[in-house]
């Protein structure tokens, strides 16, 4: 894991360890965990955006055709009040992307579980 965000954390952290060198290893571990979690989230976001863009948006254009209308609120074709407070006025098929995001998360979890099981099986066989 490349800790590319080291510098931003260093400025918060460095001042504490200036004098007697009393660096708490527990604190360092916490910082590392946070960094890894953030990097992980970024990775997920990037891939999810890529995939959902490909799935939901055909030929990117200025004018929206019928299949890519902006829809505020609701899914599965239920017209009604928007679930979030303020409808977003973006020129993207919101329903498609929302569903895509959920499905990507589901897939990620499924893959994670399957991989875990496989690893455990491999270890058991050793």
């Amino acid at each position: 894991v490349s800790l590319s965000m080291e510098s931003s954390f260093g400025s918060d952290f460095g001042s504490g360890g200036g004098g007697g060198g009393k660096l708490d290893p527990g604190l360092i571990m916490e910082q590392v965990k946070v960094q890894i979690a953030v990097a992980n989230a970024q990775e997920l976001l990037q891939r999810m955006t890529d995939k959902c863009f490909r799935k939901c948006i055909g030929k990117p254009g200025g004018a929206l055709d019928n299949s890519e209308q902006v829809r505020t609120g609701g899914r599965s074709g239920h017209p009604g009040p928007s679930s979030s407070g303020r409808p977003l006025r973006l020129c993207v098929p919101q329903k498609c992307i929302a569903m895509c995001m959920d499905r990507y998360m589901d897939s990620w979890n499924t893959v994670s579980r399957a991989y875990n099981s496989r690893l455990q099986r491999e270890r058991a066989n050793m």
Binding site: N40, T110, V111
Partner: protein, 66 residues
């Protein structure tokens, strides 16, 4: 661990997900599970074979033309 999950999710998504629907149906779920297994099998096979072909360098060119 995480990195591999990301990579596999991305690859398997291409193979298993046609149109994102309201729910992950069981067929897609099975597809993902199989996909993971096949991916790992593929990796192992490649590692194995590479190891073998490196051991017997003379057979290397033969295996290339397989």
């Amino acid at each position: 661990f995480q990195q591999l999950v990301h990579q596999m999710t991305e690859l398997c998504w291409e193979k298993c997900m046609d149109k994102p629907g309201p729910k992950l149906d069981s067929r897609a779920e099975t597809c993902f599970v199989n996909c993971v297994e096949r991916f790992i099998d593929t990796s192992q096979f490649i590692l194995n074979r590479l190891e073998q072909t490196q051991k017997s360098k003379s057979a290397f060119s033969e295996s290339l033309s397989d």
